[in-house]
C-alpha cells in the first residue's frame, strides 16, 4: 500500500488541463530586441509619436539596467534576444469589426478555457477583454458599459480613442525606470486592458481580462491601466493560462491602478499560467509589476491574488497610500508544487495621514516547491496615524518543499502602528492518517485543509471566482484523482 507521502506526491502531481495549443496563423516579428523591433511594434499598432518616444526612452533606460538578483528564485539566464516580442493571430491583425468576424478557432479557444466571448453565452455580470498573445481579441459588453460612461477596451483602442487619458496616466504609477521588468514591458508592451470609470459611477459588472499565451517562444508583455475617478467603484478580475511547452516563456506585465478621491478599486487575479512539468521543465516565467496609487482622500485599493501557475512568480502588488485616510489591502494565496518557485508579496507605502493597510498572505508549498513571502511596510515621516496589520502564514505539504518569509518594516513616524503575525504549519503523513482514520479520504483531507487555510483570502474574491479558485487549488494539488 502506498504511504501517505506517496499519496500526497501523487495528488500533488496533477496534469495541467489548459495546456492545449490553438493552431492558428500568427503574424510574428523575428526574435530579438532592438530599436527597430520597437518601432515595428509601434508601427503595427499605428501608435502616435509620443508613445513611440516613450517606448524608446524606456528601452534605452532598460539597456542600462541589470536584471534583479535579490529574489529567492533561481533560473538559467534569460536570452532576451531569443524572445519573440510580438505575435498576433493574422486575422486579428486586420482588426475585425465585430465578434462575428473573429476567427471561430479563437472563439473556440476561449470556450475551451471556460471564457465564452459571445455575450449571450457569457458569464452573467462579467465583461471580458480577451488577450491572445500580443493582442486583444474581443471585449464584451462594451456598449452596455459605455452608456454609463465606463470605458473598457483594449489598451491599443484606448491609445487610439482616449489618448489624453492614456497619456496622462501611463507610467504615472509604475514609471519605465521603476525596475528591470517594468522597463522591458514599457519598451515592448503590445496590448492589454484599459478601464476608466467616471466620477460617481459604480461599475455594475465585474470587468475582466483573460490572458492567453499561445505562440511558441513568444513573450507576453501586456499593460493594464485602470482609473477610478472621484467616488467611482470598479471590481476587476484577471485570469491567465498558457499551453504546455518544454521551453520557458516570459511574461512581464505591468498593471497600474489609480484611485482618486473616495474611489475604490478591487483587483482580483487567478493566475494559472503553465507551471512546467513534474521534473520542472518548461513553464512561464512570470515577472509582473502591479501597483496601485490611492491618489485621493478616502480612496481604497485592494489586491486579491490566487497564484497557482507559472514556473517562477515574481510579483508584488503594491499600494501607494497618498491620500489621507486611504486604505490598501493585499490578500494572497500562492501555491508552489513540483519545482515551482514563487517570490511574492506586497509593498504598502503609507504617505498620507491615517492611512491603513492590511496584508494577508497564505503560502502553500508542496512537492519541491519553494514559496517566499516578501513584503515591505513603509510609514513615511508625514504619515501621522498610519496603521498596518500583516499576517503571513505558510503551509508545507510533504517534507521536500520550503517556505520563507521576509518582512521589511520601515516606520519613520512615531505614531505609526505596525503589527506582524506569522505561522507555519506542516501537513504530513500524520495529519493525513489522522483524517483517514476518521473516514476522510486523502483527497478530501488535503482539499479541506488547504481550503480552510485559504478561507480568509477566498472570502475576498468575487463569488464566481471564489468557487473557481477553490476548485483550481484542489485540482492543482489533487490532479485527476477520483
Amino acid at each position: 500500500m502506498p504511504t501517505a507521502n506517496e499519496t500526497i506526491e501523487r495528488l500533488t502531481s496533477q496534469d495541467y488541463k489548459y495546456g492545449f495549443v490553438t493552431e492558428i496563423e500568427e503574424d510574428s516579428v523575428a526574435p530579438g530586441l532592438n530599436e527597430d523591433i520597437i518601432r515595428l511594434i509601434s508601427h503595427k499598432k499605428g501608435e502616435p509619436e509620443w508613445l513611440l518616444d516613450w517606448r524608446l526612452k524606456a528601452y534605452r533606460n532598460w539597456q542600462t539596467m541589470e536584471e534583479p538578483k535579490w529574489s529567492n528564485v533561481t533560473y538559467p539566464p534569460i536570452d532576451y534576444d531569443a524572445v519573440v516580442y510580438y505575435s498576433a493571430p493574422k486575422q486579428i491583425a486586420k482588426r475585425p469589426g465585430s465578434l462575428e468576424e473573429v476567427d471561430p478557432k479563437l472563439l473556440e479557444t476561449y470556450e475551451r478555457l471556460g471564457i465564452p466571448l459571445r455575450e449571450r453565452g457569457a458569464l452573467a455580470g462579467v465583461a471580458v477583454d480577451a488577450v491572445f498573445d500580443s493582442v486583444s481579441v474581443a471585449t464584451t459588453f462594451k456598449a452596455q458599459l459605455a452608456k454609463l460612461g465606463v470605458i473598457f477596451c483594449s489598451f491599443s483602442e484606448a491609445v487610439r480613442d482616449h489618448p489624453d487619458l492614456v497619456r496622462k496616466y501611463l507610467g504615472s504609477v509604475v514609471p519605465y525606470a521603476d525596475n528591470y521588468f517594468a522597463g522591458l514591458n514599457s519598451a515592448v508592451f503590445s496590448d492589454g486592458s484599459f478601464c476608466y470609470v467616471p466620477k460617481g459611477v459604480r461599475c455594475p459588472m465585474e470587468l475582466s481580462t483573460y490572458f492567453r499565451i499561445n505562440a511558441a517562444q513568444t513573450g507576453q508583455f501586456e499593460r493594464t491601466l485602470i482609473i477610478a475617478d472621484e467616488g467611482a467603484y470598479v471590481s476587476y478580475l484577471e485570469g491567465c493560462t498558457a499551453p504546455m511547452r518544454d521551453r520557458n516563456q516570459l511574461h512581464a506585465a505591468v498593471v497600474e491602478l489609480i484611485a482618486l478621491d473616495n474611489a475604490q478599486i478591487k483587483y482580483s487575479t487567478v493566475q494559472n499560467w503553465y507551471p512546467g512539468d513534474k521534473e520542472g521543465r518548461g513553464g512561464i516565467y512570470n515577472f509582473v509589476t502591479k501597483r496601485g496609487k490611492c491618489a485621493g482622500v478616502n480612496s481604497k485599493i485592494s489586491w486579491t491574488q490566487v497564484e497557482t501557475g507559472s514556473a517562477i512568480t515574481w510579483k508584488y502588488p503594491s499600494c501607494i497610500l497618498l491620500g489621507d485616510n486611504s486604505i490598501g489591502e493585499f490578500y494572497s494565496v500562492a501555491l508552489t508544487n513540483n519545482y515551482q518557485q514563487a517570490d511574492t508579496g506586497t509593498k504598502m507605502i503609507h504617505i498620507g495621514r491615517n492611512t491603513r493597510s492590511t496584508i494577508v498572505s497564505k503560502g502553500i508549498s508542496a512537492g519541491h516547491g519553494q514559496n517566499t513571502y516578501r513584503g515591505l511596510v513603509q510609514v513615511a515621516k508625514k504619515a501621522e496615524g498610519a496603521r498596518n496589520y500583516s499576517q503571513c502564514d505558510s503551509m508545507l505539504i510533504g517534507d521536500q518543499c520550503g517556505a520563507h518569509t521576509f518582512p521589511y518594516i520601515d516606520v519613520r513616524n512615531p505614531s505609526g502602528q505596525v503589527e506582524h503575525e506569522a505561522c507555519t504549519s506542516k501537513i504530513g503523513e500524520d495529519q493525513i492518517f489522522y483524517c483517514n482514520q476518521r473516514g476522510i479520504s486523502t483527497e478530501d483531507a488535503v482539499s479541506m485543509i488547504v481550503n480552510g487555510f485559504c478561507k480568509q483570502v477566498f472570502r475576498e474574491l468575487p463569488m464566481e471566482f471564489a468557487v473557481e479558485a477553490q476548485k483550481l487549488l484542489t485540482v492543482s494539488l489533487e490532479g485527476s484523482v477520483g
Partner: protein, 254 residues
C-alpha cells in the same frame, strides 16, 4: 465469530520487526485491556489495525467482521466502524474541530448509504455529545487539536468517538496525562458507549483506569507478543509485581 481476530500478526516498522506473532480475539460487547512496558508494541498493534501505512504486515492476518483488513485503506476501515483514539492526537491547523467531525461523520454516513447530516442537525448532535464529555464548546470552533492542552486533546478523542459511534473503539493511552476529574469524565464517556454490538480495546499503563472501565479481559504485550492473558485481576497483579515477574516466569518456563 469474533468481531476482530488478530492472527499470528507480524509487523515491521522501518525494517525492524516489532510485532512477532500476536493473537487476539475480541467479541462484540467485550472490553479488552492491553498493558505492557514502554516500547512493547501496543501502539504498533493499534495503528496496524487502523491501517497506518508505515506499519508493514509481514505475516499473519487481521480479520474484522469476517473480512481481512489487509489491503484496505485506513478510511475504509474507519467507515467499517474502526475508531482509534490516538496516543498522540494530531494537530490540524486551519480547520475547525466541528467541521472536521462533520466531514468525518458524513464521510462515514455516505459510505453506508445514509443521508448526510446538514449543518443544523450536526450542530445539535455535537452540542449534545460535547456535553456528555463536558467539553467546552469553544474548543469546537478552534482548529483541530491546535493548541489544545494534553487533557483537552484526549477528551476530544473521546468526543469524536461518541460522534462517530464505532463498532470497534481502540483507545491508546487515553488516560495518560488526565487529571482525576478528566479521567472520570473520559471513563464515563467510554462506559456510556458500552453496548452489546460494540467492542473496545483499551491500551493503558494504569490499573486506575480499569477501576472505572472494568475490562472483560486483560492482555500483557511484551517484546512483540502477548505473553499473558487473564481477567481483570491480572491488572491488579501487574500493578503489584511489575512486568519483570512475567519475564522471569517466561524464562523459568523455557
Amino acid at each position: 465469530m469474533p468481531l476482530l481476530e488478530v492472527k499470528n500478526l507480524h509487523v515491521n516498522v522501518g525494517g525492524t520487526e516489532i510485532l512477532k506473532g500476536v493473537d487476539l480475539a475480541v467479541n462484540e460487547g467485550e472490553i479488552h485491556a492491553i498493558m505492557g512496558p514502554n516500547g512493547s508494541g501496543k501502539s504498533t498493534l493499534a495503528q496496524t489495525i487502523s491501517g497506518h501505512p508505515a506499519f508493514e504486515v509481514t505475516d499473519g492476518d487481521i480479520v474484522y467482521g469476517g473480512e481481512s483488513l489487509l489491503g484496505k485503506k485506513p478510511e475504509e476501515r474507519a467507515c467499517a466502524g474502526i475508531f482509534l483514539a490516538f496516543q498522540y492526537p494530531v494537530e490540524i491547523p486551519g480547520i475547525s474541530n466541528s467541521l472536521f467531525m462533520k466531514s468525518a461523520l458524513n464521510a462515514i454516513r455516505r459510505s453506508r448509504g445514509l443521508q448526510e447530516l446538514d449543518a443544523f442537525e450536526f450542530l445539535e448532535l455535537i452540542k449534545e455529545k460535547a456535553n456528555t464529555v463536558e467539553m467546552d464548546e469553544a474548543l469546537l470552533s478552534r482548529s483541530v487539536n491546535s493548541g489544545f492542552s494534553g487533557g483537552e486533546k484526549k477528551r476530544n478523542e473521546i468526543l469524536q468517538m461518541a460522534v462517530l459511534e464505532p463498532r470497534l473503539g481502540i483507545l491508546d493511552e487515553t488516560d495518560s496525562g488526565l487529571d482525576i476529574d478528566a479521567l472520570r469524565i473520559v471513563a464515563d464517556g467510554v462506559n456510556s458507549l458500552r453496548a452489546p454490538h460494540r467492542a473496545m480495546i483499551i491500551v493503558t499503563h494504569y490499573q486506575r483506569l480499569l477501576n472505572y472501565i472494568v475490562p472483560d479481559f486483560v492482555h500483557v504485550l511484551n517484546g512483540g507478543r502477548i505473553v499473558r492473558s487473564g481477567g481483570k485481576e491480572l491488572a491488579l497483579e501487574l500493578e503489584e509485581k511489575g512486568y519483570s515477574w512475567l519475564e522471569e516466569e517466561a524464562l523459568a518456563r523455557s
